[in-house]
């Protein structure tokens, strides 16, 4: 089975757990930075495969976000664009609250973000 997705993430746990297994593009930065990167990829013709606001931990309460996009590029997908734009608008409502968090809390946020993206793997690998 050809793995045809790329995971964009700012979560070091996702980077490390998937190393050598899936295609992961890791870049440090905040929650909003990651969403903007996803939007850039959508502009470039990648399709969004997972919801950018996955998880009930609110944007900017957690610093971490991982989003799956298609490896292939085509013409810009308007559905993907609409979802990522709405996500960016929603994210702006939430002030950044993750600065200065203790390491243990950061690690728990990493774990939850990892399980959210990990829940998409069986679906993404199904066909």
């Amino acid at each position: 089975m050809a793995v045809s997705f790329v995971i964009l993430t700012n979560n070091p746990l996702v980077r490390d757990r998937y190393a050598g297994q899936y295609s992961v593009e890791y870049q440090e930065g905040g929650y909003m930075d990651l969403l903007v990167r996803v939007r850039d990829k959508v502009h470039a013709g990648h399709k969004l495969l997972t919801h950018p606001l996955s998880g009930s931990v609110k944007p900017n309460e957690t610093p971490y976000k991982s989003v799956m996009i298609s490896q292939k590029r085509g013409t810009m997908d308007l559905g993907s664009l609409s979802v990522i734009e709405e996500a960016i608008t929603a994210c702006r409502k939430f002030p950044v609250r993750y600065e200065g968090l203790p390491q243990r809390v950061l690690e728990d946020f990493q774990l939850v973000d990892f399980t959210l993206i990990d829940s998409a793997i069986p679906s993404a690998s199904a066909f």
Binding site: G55, K58, R97, P102, V112, S119, S123, A124
Partner: protein, 426 residues
């Protein structure tokens, strides 16, 4: 399918050397309950406490709230596929202990949330302040992974609820109610002139601390399907959702789903309540498409006239909510949706992360971003360690004097998206 519910009113909980229900008082043998909980080798210790309405008590971080029930007649048992065998439930006779709940608490991860204040302004926002609560704070064994700890606490709550429910098996209920829905043809013949209405119930299904189980199956790995409404009264759906306290559906909410309750109130009078359609809220977008396609397909197949759609959570589920609504409306079935809002602290921002003109009938559970002030309570059950980093809290939320300034989303059940709450614009 027909279920008789017997309600046994509980007006007090006391610790005793014997567990029993007598004259509306639940007596709890602490040792017996602890022994039951500690059967799970992943739990190192459990502390039991009782919180009554009106007391100066704060319970946090709340994981789940569960109403004890017992299956008295008919197939299966409470929490099928989880505690009882997987037989189909929802028929026969079930007793519930009303006016009380089992509350599980514990810091599974470092940003845990969920506050129940038993008095003061915070109490007005949560339905659970009106109950007598048996609170269990479970501590894990050293080094236990978060997944396993969450599961252990979840099961401990269900086991204790079933243990307490069993005490009611031979009692005479204070009140009895019968709930019945019919097969498709039978329903049309019985109520030929009433609109056919179903409840599209969206289940949280995203990952650790974000899961729901149907007959023991993780809802992520299910396709949209049909339930008899009475099945939920026997615990066919249980919560594994511990994040976003204000709008997570606890197991108590699933057992006492107000949409189910109110549809039954109108069943045979103004509408024909056909069934529940359960669907998920996965993170993978193709799953969303499949699940919402199936919701619409089932609505059409059942020749429904209208549905109520409730969602659980924020952001990702908003997309499922709108996809369900658009597609169900497109097959000619009217929708009314129930949600809550994240409209910013001033209430001026767009409430949901998705929208569509087809979603033109909306009931809101309130604005979860609204800032509230909670006074100090004399007693805390659980721990306040993480109030500063819980959803809706922030650095400095927990003041030195014990008061809390945070968003409404810290309070368990405050903006529940089944409508099991008291907030109103009136």
């Amino acid at each position: 399918m027909k279920l008789e519910m017997g309600y046994i009113n509980i007006h007090d909980i006391q610790f005793s050397n014997e567990s029993k229900v007598e004259n509306g008082v639940l007596y709890v043998d602490q040792d017996a309950v602890k022994k039951l909980v500690l059967e799970d080798e992943n739990i190192k210790s459990v502390t039991l406490d009782i919180a009554h309405p009106g007391e100066s008590v704060r319970i946090t971080p709340v994981k789940d709230v569960i109403e004890p029930r017992v299956k008295v007649e008919g197939p299966g048992g409470i929490f099928p596929g989880v505690i009882a065998k997987v037989d189909t439930v929802g028929s026969g006779k079930t007793y519930a202990l009303k006016g009380m709940a089992v509350v599980t608490a514990g810091k599974i991860v470092g940003f845990q949330e969920g506050i129940i204040d038993m008095s003061g302004p915070g109490a007005d926002y949560t339905p659970f302040s009106k109950l007598h609560n048996l609170v269990m704070v479970c501590e894990p064994v050293e080094g236990l992974a978060q997944h396993d700890y969450e599961r252990a606490v979840r099961f401990a709550g269900f086991k204790v609820a079933v243990y307490l429910g069993e005490l009611a098996r031979n009692l005479t209920p204070d009140e009895t109610k019968v709930f019945e829905t019919y097969g498709v043809k039978e329903g049309i013949e019985k109520f030929p002139n009433l609109p056919r209405v179903a409840y599209v119930h969206m289940l949280q299904s995203q990952g650790l601390l974000h899961d729901t189980y149907v007959y023991g199956v993780d809802a992520k790995r299910t396709l949209t399907t049909i339930l008899n409404p009475t099945e939920v009264m026997d615990g066919a759906i249980v919560s594994g959702n511990c994040v976003s306290a204000c709008d997570k559906n606890t197991t108590y909410h699933h057992l006492n789903n107000p949409v189910v309750h109110d549809l039954f109130e109108q069943h045979g009078k103004t509408l024909n309540y056909v069934c529940n359609i359960i669907t998920n809220e996965n993170v993978y977008l193709a799953d969303k498409q499949r699940s919402s396609d199936w919701s619409a397909k089932l609505c059409r197949l059942l020749d429904l006239d209208g549905v109520i759609v409730s969602q659980e959570g924020f952001g990702n589920p908003d997309t499922d909510l709108i996809m369900n609504t658009k597609k169900i409306e497109a097959v000619g079935v009217k929708t009314t949706i129930i949600t809550d809002e994240y409209a910013g602290q001033d209430g001026k921002s767009q409430s949901l992360a998705d929208a569509d003109p087809a979603a033109d009938a909306v009931v809101t559970g309130g604005n979860a971003n609204m800032v509230i002030h909670l006074p100090k309570m004399d007693k805390v059950i659980g721990m306040l360690d993480y109030v500063d980093v819980i959803a809706g809290g922030h650095e400095g939320s927990l003041k030195e004097d014990g008061t809390i300034e945070a968003e409404l989303q810290v309070i368990t059940g405050a903006t529940n998206e089944m409508g099991f709450n008291k907030l109103s614009a009136r």
